[in-house]
């Protein structure tokens, strides 16, 4: 398959490189009336077309940009309400055969300590995460023959079967190398959540320059990686770009074209979009000084434009970003964040002084899960560990039926409250509990009479010791 794709690599893909450049050129200095029309379309919850997104990317007027921020905040509130889903990354192994210039795990980086968790170490990591209150993980693997589909499936199975007290991991998302269709089927068989592959950069010449070695050097093999996942029956996939490698406007266009491609080919777009900015990594000069750094202001622009372009796609913001910026950016459209994260291999269960040398990059938000939850609640958000949809057959094409505000009110908000109640009962500090119980009371009071009583009963059941209560 790899050899086959190597031959096909130069053929046209669904990322029209020239067309993106032309669109970004053609839509410069946009007419404010046109920009407002596009914002109105977005607020009616329609996915934008490439020309429309390109127009938003070319808005330079500060007042108009502020209008974009306002629209993005409004759209987020309408579709997602005030919930924020929380998860943690769990690095299983950092062996890698690729040589991505910007990455701390690249094969030529001799200063990174290579490590793959043993089964026992993995169980300890999971227990440490469960003990903090986590229910959702993203497991991360380098690209290496050690991390075969069978290995990935086995590690996920171990995670699902590791319990501690009331706690357990209920959803495991995966960030791993692109697989063959057969490989995906093996991974799918253990019941994964989302399979993520980040293209890193959609700009072909930049991609070729930054990925000189290994399977990842093949642009098309990676680009079509999620097509193969969907062909294997994985209906939740996540796309992403690493901002800082090339022009951020081009990358946003790439993410949009990728979304459109999946919608057209499979009838369902990506479940999530990630938009990490490059961060410094051990012995990786490129990461200290990326060629296309994205300022905080432009980062806010790109987040709001992605929100406006794909109203119903989940957006993931990571702990790479500083807490103050995270607080601001969340409001512009983010639906999921990681919290209490540690990205050294084995670093949840061990206070390892060498953690940094086992990490892919460095984190800017080092707050604990409890601190993040407390801060979110102070800002009026409901932290959620909900995993109900994918355990009630509300997945794939069926999930799209629920991407409407009514569903959020009647399902997502109650389920967020239930999982927050579990957290407060089992893991929260006293200070967090006090804020949390007040928030829950306030949120229940806001609910329609039709569901208020059912939610109150659910909360009481949890307080009495029942777990995994959900709608």
């Amino acid at each position: 398959m790899y050899v086959f794709m190597k031959e096909k690599e130069k053929l046209k893909t669904f990322i029209p490189q020239d067309e993106i450049h032309e669109l970004l050129e053609k839509t410069k200095n946009p007419d404010p009336v046109r920009v407002k029309e596009i914002l109105a379309k977005s607020l009616s919850k329609e996915r934008l077309e490439p020309e429309e997104t390109a127009t938003l990317l070319n808005v330079e007027d500060r007042d108009l940009i502020e209008e974009m921020f306002i629209a993005a905040r409004k759209l987020k509130e309408t579709i997602y309400g005030n919930r924020i889903v929380l998860f943690a990354p769990l690095y299983i192994g950092n062996e890698c055969v690729n040589d991505c210039v910007y990455c701390g795990f690249r094969t030529s980086n001799k200063k990174v300590l290579r490590k793959t968790l043993t089964e026992e170490e993995l169980k300890e990591e999971v227990k440490a995460l469960v003990n903090k209150g986590h229910k959702r993980l993203i497991v991360v693997y380098g690209e290496h023959s050690k991390y075969s589909p069978q290995f990935i499936a086995k590690t996920i199975d171990i995670i699902y079967n590791t319990k501690l007290g009331n706690g357990e991991i209920r959803r495991v998302n995966v960030n791993a190398a692109p697989q063959s269709v057969e490989g995906y089927k093996i991974i799918k068989s253990v019941g994964i959540g989302t399979f993520q592959i980040f293209q890193e950069t959609y700009h072909y010449p930049t991609y070729k320059k930054l990925h000189p070695k290994g399977p990842k050097s093949n642009f098309a093999w990676r680009l079509y990686g999620l097509d193969r996942a969907m062909m294997a029956g994985i209906d939740d996939v996540g796309i992403g770009a690493l901002f800082g490698l090339y022009d951020w406007k081009f990358e946003v266009m790439g993410l949009l074209y990728h979304t459109i491609h999946l919608e057209e080919r499979f009838g369902v777009g990506p479940h999530t979009i990630s938009f990490p900015r490059i961060e410094p990594a051990v012995n990786t000069p490129f990461s200290q000084k990326p060629p296309h750094p994205v300022s905080d202001f432009d980062f806010k622009r790109l987040v709001s434009i992605i929100r406006l372009s794909v109203p119903y796609t989940g957006m993931i913001l990571t702990a790479r970003e500083r807490p103050d910026l995270r607080d601001e950016v969340i409001k512009l459209g983010v639906s999921q964040i990681d919290a209490g994260s540690s990205i050294g291999v084995g670093s949840y269960s061990n206070k390892d002084p060498e953690t940094v040398k086992k990490s892919q990059f460095l984190l800017a938000d080092r707050r604990s899960l409890d601190e993040v939850i407390r801060e979110l609640m102070k800002s009026g958000f409901i932290p959620s560990f909900c995993t109900a949809c994918y355990r009630a057959g509300r997945t794939g094409e069926h999930f799209m039926e629920f991407a409407i505000p009514g569903f959020v009110k009647r399902f997502c908000t109650p389920n967020a409250i239930f999982t927050l109640t579990e957290y407060l009962c089992d893991y929260a500090t006293q200070e967090t509990k006090e804020i949390g119980w007040k928030l829950i009371e306030k949120e229940i009071e806001k609910m329609d009479d039709g569901i208020k009583e059912a939610v109150k009963k659910g909360v009481e059941r949890i307080k009495r010791g029942e777990r995994d209560v959900r709608f």
Partner: protein, 85 residues
């Protein structure tokens, strides 16, 4: 498997309103089987009509649960008798 047979059974389940959909268990995940649903979304908490560890039939807003459960058993039998999709 006969898709039309399954769809016919699903239509019978929602004859008097409600919604039904069919999923299969994949490890911890319970995944919707593409195309296998009938009725209108009412935004009620889902109830399980049938669960044999592999196939799960969910419903909401169904009035006659006993009748629906019998029909859901037949849905599973058809699905498990042939191609598992």
């Amino acid at each position: 498997m006969s898709d039309s047979e399954v769809m016919n059974l699903l239509s019978q389940i929602v004859k008097e309103g409600g919604k039904v959909w069919v999923a299969k268990r994949i490890g911890r995940r319970i995944s919707y089987i593409e195309g296998l649903k009938a009725g209108e979304e009412l935004f009620l908490p889902p109830e399980v009509l049938y669960d044999d560890g592999q196939i799960i039939v969910f419903c909401e807003g169904i009035k006659n649960m006993e009748r629906a459960k019998n029909l859901a058993r037949r849905v599973a039998a058809v699905l498990e008798g042939g191609d598992q999709k």
